[in-house]
């Protein structure tokens, strides 16, 4: 990388800069390469993660189908980014926290949260369907980059109490333009808290390409401005992601402070089903990423080592089908929503205003129920008045 025009950076500053090329340990053809800083994860670990990758793809496909059937209001797919999703979840220990965005459904499920609870947000029965404390997964964040500051706060509290918790906070490339992204990195560095900021650079913020988002050499380069190390990793290389994110987590746990990891990946599908991706990119652009698919690559590597057989693949596919079937069955069941819950959680104790409004709604519902019980007579009577 070229030196800064103002002079040669000091060795210490240099150490914060990312590698020239994104770290890659397994190439698109499934061949391993050597990187002295990042040892290749062992085969068993990769095989386990590969199974989660297959399940993640299946979850994405199933959720897309459920949107088409009207069972989900919307689904921001991570198709093509599943290696990032799986790695973000599996590098964490039980005591750690994951802070996901709305696109990180697969990461949240991989962390152990019930898929049906994860999909509550997108299904539309409540905003966040799971208990963040159960698996130490924050609610999926919709506003961009705001959750990165929450992650810093969780880490800071843990540090003050002397706990070994590490927080991994996810965001996309678009989020790096938001003020909260910069405040979060700065706060994390100043307070020296154990946070790994993980950017999935999938090249588009809805329709806006990365070149309109930043002219920095890479998003990982932003780290040096805050005094923390940045690293770039091939976001479709599960092995490299496990190695780089794992190293960042270890570093944070050992008191090394925060760091920034940028994964270079691609959003293979539209932003959501409401998006028309053909308006801002060509089919050829998307096609160029097909050979880099994270599943194809890891399958080739594992098969090359004879760790994955036809039988093994069949078992993993069946397991993924079980997950998908459970999602399908769950979402095909109507959920009873309780309108009185609208007022339950706004304050710990309902205000007199909310009590009045809850009573108003209850009366309306009882009137409707009475009218329904009375059959057509109820509405006839109303009409006559």
């Amino acid at each position: 990388m070229g030196g800064a025009p103002g002079g040669t950076p000091s060795t210490a500053a240099h150490a914060l800069l990312p590698s020239v090329d994104p770290v890659q340990l397994v190439d698109p053809d499934g061949h391993a390469s050597h990187d002295e800083r990042y040892p290749l994860p062992d085969g068993r670990r990769l095989l386990d993660a590969y199974g989660r990758l297959v399940a993640g793809r299946r979850i994405n496909d199933q959720a897309n189908a459920l949107v088409r059937q009207g069972r989900l209001a919307v689904y921001p797919s991570s198709h093509g980014q599943e290696a990032c999703q799986v790695a973000a979840a599996v590098v964490l220990g039980e005591e750690d926290w994951l802070f996901p965005t709305y696109r990180d459904t697969v990461a949240v499920i991989t962390r152990g949260v019930d898929p049906l609870e994860v999909l509550t947000l997108l299904r539309g029965d409540w905003h966040a369907g799971y208990d963040p404390y159960e698996h130490r997964v924050a609610t999926q964040a919709t506003p961009l980059a705001t959750q990165l500051l929450h992650a810093v706060g969780v880490a800071h509290a843990a540090k003050l109490r002397g706990e070994s918790t590490v927080v991994l906070a996810m965001c996309g490339d678009g989020a790096t333009s938001e003020g909260d992204f910069h405040e979060a990195l700065n706060f994390a560095a100043v307070f020296h808290v154990p946070v790994v900021f993980f950017i999935q650079n999938n090249e588009f913020a809805i329709s806006v390409p990365l070149k309109n988002q930043t002219v920095a050499p890479s998003l990982a380069h932003k780290a040096i401005g805050y005094g923390m190390p940045g690293e770039r990793v091939d976001g479709n290389d599960l092995a490299a992601l496990l190695a780089v994110l794992g190293a960042a987590v270890d570093r944070a746990r050992d008191g090394g402070g925060p760091s920034l990891v940028e994964a270079h990946t691609y959003r293979m599908q539209a932003h959501t089903n409401a998006d028309d991706a053909t308006r801002y990119r060509s089919a050829d652009d998307v096609e160029r990423w097909v050979p880099k698919d994270p599943i194809v690559r890891m399958r080739a590597y594992l098969r090359g080592l004879d760790l994955l057989t036809d039988e093994g693949e069949r078992i993993l596919a069946d397991e993924a089908d079980v997950v998908a079937a459970a999602i399908r069955a769950g979402l095909n069941t109507e959920v009873d929503v309780n309108p009185q819950e609208l007022f339950e959680y706004v304050y710990t104790e309902k205000t007199s205003q909310l009590r009045e409004q809850a009573a108003l709604l209850r009366e309306e519902l009882e009137r409707d129920a009475d009218a329904a019980a009375a059959g057509t007579g109820g509405s006839m009577e109303g009409d006559q008045r």
């Binding site: 905003h127 609610t139 500051l149 929450h150 509290a157 003050l160 909260d180 205000t351």
Partner: protein
């Protein structure tokens, strides 16, 4: 007149000089807030204080004076200069077992944190069905009357009051400053705590040790959601909060010299709003004026007028009036006295309450 005039509820009126304490001393509003913070931090190790200049300097108004020295820089600390950062970090710390108290330094400096406040602080408990509680107190030195330059004197309560999930408080007395801040810190819900800057140096004869004992023993009457009759009266009600309460009390005193008995309600708690105390007063007096410093359009004052006319219409002898700031950006120091609700403006409004039409 038409409606029965009930006597003001005993024990809630005439706070000035009420509650004889063992060793009364002149204590400022600022000192009471400082004591409340220190006592809360002493009582609960989860309580933390952070913001801009709140450490060794003790805050630009010295509200956090001595806290770092006493509790260490892990409990009271300076942050980088970034309000969204302060607010967002508070969310995470509250998620993870802490009770953060943050200082926003000045009303208009809090706006960069607005997204964090309205999108996360206010909504997180509801969106998680109460699984995540955020016991955060957002202290905002607030409103005008101190000759501050621009962006130092905004009345921002309507923005927060309009956001469900936030408790919004504005004390007006030294005693309330202490009790309400303690109560805010003890609340499991997020609280926007508006500190009228022009009252920081106002004094009352109180014994802080006695206030502490009263609070710790659970003997202090609850203030969140509870308005108080600051001065009893029978002819009309002035409804006010925060920085405008002393002005309303002065107007009531002046009106008394002209032979009118004016009741003054100090809301203390904007959200939750105490309809009961406010409406009981208006039903007694039949006339009301809302006094507040913020611009009147789409304001908390507007909301109070609407609530009173919805609930007390048949008791009203006159329309409910407002005395508020003008609908302009907060003016420069040499112009602010034209803007702020004044005793004369309040008395004019009282005069306008259709007295001559009264049967």
């Amino acid at each position: 007149m038409t409606q029965t005039t009930e006597a003001p509820a005993p024990g809630i009126g005439g706070r000035a000089g009420a509650g004889a304490v063992p060793a009364p001393r002149a204590t400022t509003f600022a000192k009471a807030l400082n004591a409340a913070l220190a006592d809360a931090m002493e009582a609960d190790a989860a309580v933390l204080m952070f913001g801009e200049d709140v450490g060794p300097l003790g805050g630009v108004f010295r509200i956090t004076d001595g806290l770092t020295a006493r509790f260490g820089e892990e409990r009271c600390f300076d942050t980088p200069l970034a309000e969204a950062g302060i607010m967002g970090m508070a969310v995470g710390m509250a998620m993870n077992g802490m009770k953060p108290v943050v200082e926003m330094q000045f009303d208009a400096f809090a706006y960069p944190a607005f997204e964090q406040v309205v999108s996360h602080v206010a909504k997180m408990p509801n969106r998680t069905k109460g699984k995540v509680r955020l016991p955060i107190v957002i202290r905002i030195p607030y409103a005008g009357g101190i000759g501050g330059v621009e962006h130092h004197c905004d009345s921002s309560e309507a923005y927060y009051a309009h956001t469900p999930g936030l408790t919004v408080l504005a004390p007006a007395t030294v005693r309330d400053a202490y009790f309400m801040l303690r109560e805010a810190i003890a609340s499991p819900d997020p609280v926007v705590f508006l500190e009228p800057k022009k009252l920081y140096w106002s004094k009352e004869e109180v014994d802080l040790a006695e206030l502490r004992r009263t609070f710790d023993d659970g003997e202090a009457p609850r203030r969140i959601g509870r308005a108080v009759v600051a001065r009893p009266g029978t002819d009309a009600t002035l409804i006010s909060y925060g920085p405008s309460v002393p002005t309303a009390l002065a107007a009531a005193a002046a009106a008394a010299e002209e032979g009118r008995s004016i009741e003054v309600i100090d809301l203390r708690s904007i959200v939750p709003f105490d309809d009961e105390t406010v409406c009981a007063s208006v039903r007694r007096t039949g006339r009301a004026v809302v006094v507040a410093e913020a611009p009147g359009f789409a304001s908390v004052a507007s909301e109070i007028v609407a609530r009173v006319q919805e609930r007390c219409f048949h008791s009203l002898a006159a329309p409910v009036l407002r005395v508020t700031g003008f609908d302009i950006p907060y003016p420069s120091p040499k112009l602010e006295h034209f803007y702020l609700p004044s005793v004369d403006r309040i008395l004019d409004a009282v005069d306008d309450l259709q007295w001559e039409d009264r049967p």
